[in-house]
């Protein structure tokens, strides 16, 4: 089943002089982890905003083409309904706190309060999120006094608490240290195992290679490349379109051009190790 589909989507911001997105088409199947990659200003966040309906509802401007979530046009959803289907965690951790809560537990439960769930259910689901994102030690702290990385994790918990089928994560790890980054990717894996569809904007390409199923490379508002993660991230052309290749893949591509050794090209450290031991045998 197709969870998200964009067909010939073109968008221009109000007062904009050019198209922010130009004829974008792709679809994401249910349960897939889909990476949006590309340089700064290539349109990744704009695509996220279109999927969530913030474009055109909030940003205005002119949007053409068709945007469907669960086979229904996004414009036909009412906002509360879409909130429950599509969870969206933003890039900037400082603006994501509600601003009306003085402890992390209530901050995480805010969406459920707005949806009118009974207190007991909220408590249970908040506790589960605190467990999942390992937030125990900050549960009673004021969210406005946390560091950027801590807020980012609280924000992700606050979005996942509504149990959305589709989760958009816009650079969730940009404020995090390597250990917390790894933790977030483990949560992504867990969500994938639960059958959730994930749209991930991420610069840490090695982790993208390891955890994502598909990648879409954007360049100046156009689709430069797209497809299964292995096809995209082992193709040297990625570099010509403002993208990056995983270190492992780059290493083997460099060797390949000289020696013409391996196919398929290893993508992750794990695969590289397997390749090496495999050849040793």
């Amino acid at each position: 089943m197709v969870a998200i589909s964009l067909e010939h989507v073109t968008y221009r911001y109000p007062l904009g002089t050019g198209d922010a997105l130009d004829d974008i088409s792709f679809h994401i199947g249910q349960g897939e982890v889909y990476a949006l990659i590309g340089g700064n200003g290539s349109g990744k966040t704009t695509v996220c905003n279109i999927i969530r309906g913030f474009i055109p509802q909030f940003y205005k401007g002119t949007l053409t083409g068709s945007v469907m979530v669960n086979d229904k046009p996004v414009s036909e959803y009412d906002d509360a309904e879409l909130t429950q289907i599509v969870g969206y965690s933003f890039q900037n951790p400082f603006t994501q706190m509600s601003g009306v809560k003085d402890n992390v537990r209530e901050e995480i439960g805010y969406a459920l309060e707005n949806l009118g769930l009974p207190r007991e259910d909220i408590g249970r689901r908040v506790d589960a999120m605190i467990e999942l994102l390992d937030l125990q030690e900050m549960a009673d702290q004021n969210p406005l006094e946390l560091s950027g990385g801590q807020r980012q994790r609280v924000a992700i918990a606050a979005v996942l608490v509504t149990d959305p089928q589709i989760v958009i994560l816009d650079e969730p790890t940009s404020q995090l240290d390597p250990q917390s980054t790894e933790d977030i990717f483990n949560i992504i894996k867990l969500l994938k195992n639960q059958g959730k569809t994930i749209v991930l904007v991420e610069h840490k390409i090695d982790l993208v290679a390891e955890y994502c199923d598909y990648a879409l490379l954007l360049e100046e508002g156009r689709v430069a490349m797209g497809g299964p993660i292995r096809d995209v991230l082992t193709d040297p052309k990625v570099m010509d379109h403002g993208g990056q290749l995983p270190q492992v893949a780059r290493f083997f591509i460099d060797r390949n051009t000289k020696l013409g050794l391996c196919d398929p090209i290893p993508l992750t450290v794990q695969e590289a190790v397997e390749f090496k031991t495999g050849r040793g045998n």
């Binding site: 002089t17 909030f58 205005k60």
Partner: protein, 201 residues
């Protein structure tokens, strides 16, 4: 364009209210750091009224005084002054008075007059004419010169109001004119302040 209360209180406009109140507080602090003889404590209210309209401006004025009133209840009755300031300033934005300097100066005068009348009424009715503020000295001077209490309070109110409103409007207007277009277009009352050259292109 339909301009109901629901239209004015969009989610974005709602978020302007705490911003306006915070700016009021910071403006007030700044005016005491810079040792101004008058209180510059409505910059946020004015600014919010300009891009959020009369109702959002009025609530910003109210909230500012409620926050102050929690510490010092004298601020509660004066909420009416801040509300009048926000409301009138917002109406003038609806009439697009802030698109040029002449309109902005005229707005200054109109807002001052309304604020002064409400302030004088509150001072007279609730406090009998004096409130322990520095401006009481002006009122006392009028009284000593033989002016009646009501006239003295109104005159003091006009003087102080014009001075502080002039600074409030000037500062918020300059900042409004510097606000990037991409922000202005999202606010219900921001469209008239978008640079014309950009619309044409």
């Amino acid at each position: 364009m339909k301009r109901g209360l629901r239209y004015d209180f969009s989610l974005l406009a709602l978020l302007l209210i705490p911003v306006g109140v915070s700016v009021n507080v910071v403006g007030y602090q700044l005016s005491s750091i810079l040792k101004f003889p008058i209180f510059i404590d409505q910059i946020g209210t004015l600014f919010v009224s300009m891009i959020g309209g009369p109702w959002v401006g009025m609530v910003t004025g109210l909230m500012g005084n409620v926050i102050n009133g929690m510490l010092n209840p004298v601020a509660f009755p004066y909420a009416l002054v801040a509300m009048a300031t926000g409301f009138v300033a917002g109406i003038l934005s609806r009439w697009k008075w802030y698109t040029n300097i002449v309109g902005a100066v005229a707005a200054c005068v109109v807002i001052s007059v309304f604020a002064a009348i409400v302030k004088a009424l509150v001072t007279l009715v609730v406090f009998g004419g004096v409130t322990g503020a520095g401006s009481d000295l002006i009122t006392a001077a009028f009284l000593v010169a033989g002016t009646s209490l009501i006239k003295s309070v109104f005159s003091t109110s006009i003087f102080t109001s014009i001075a502080s409103t002039a600074v409030d409007v000037a500062v918020s207007w300059i900042i409004l004119r510097k606000l990037p277009d991409r922000f202005l277009v999202k606010f219900n009352y921001g469209m008239p302040y978008v640079r014309k050259s950009r619309i044409a292109s």
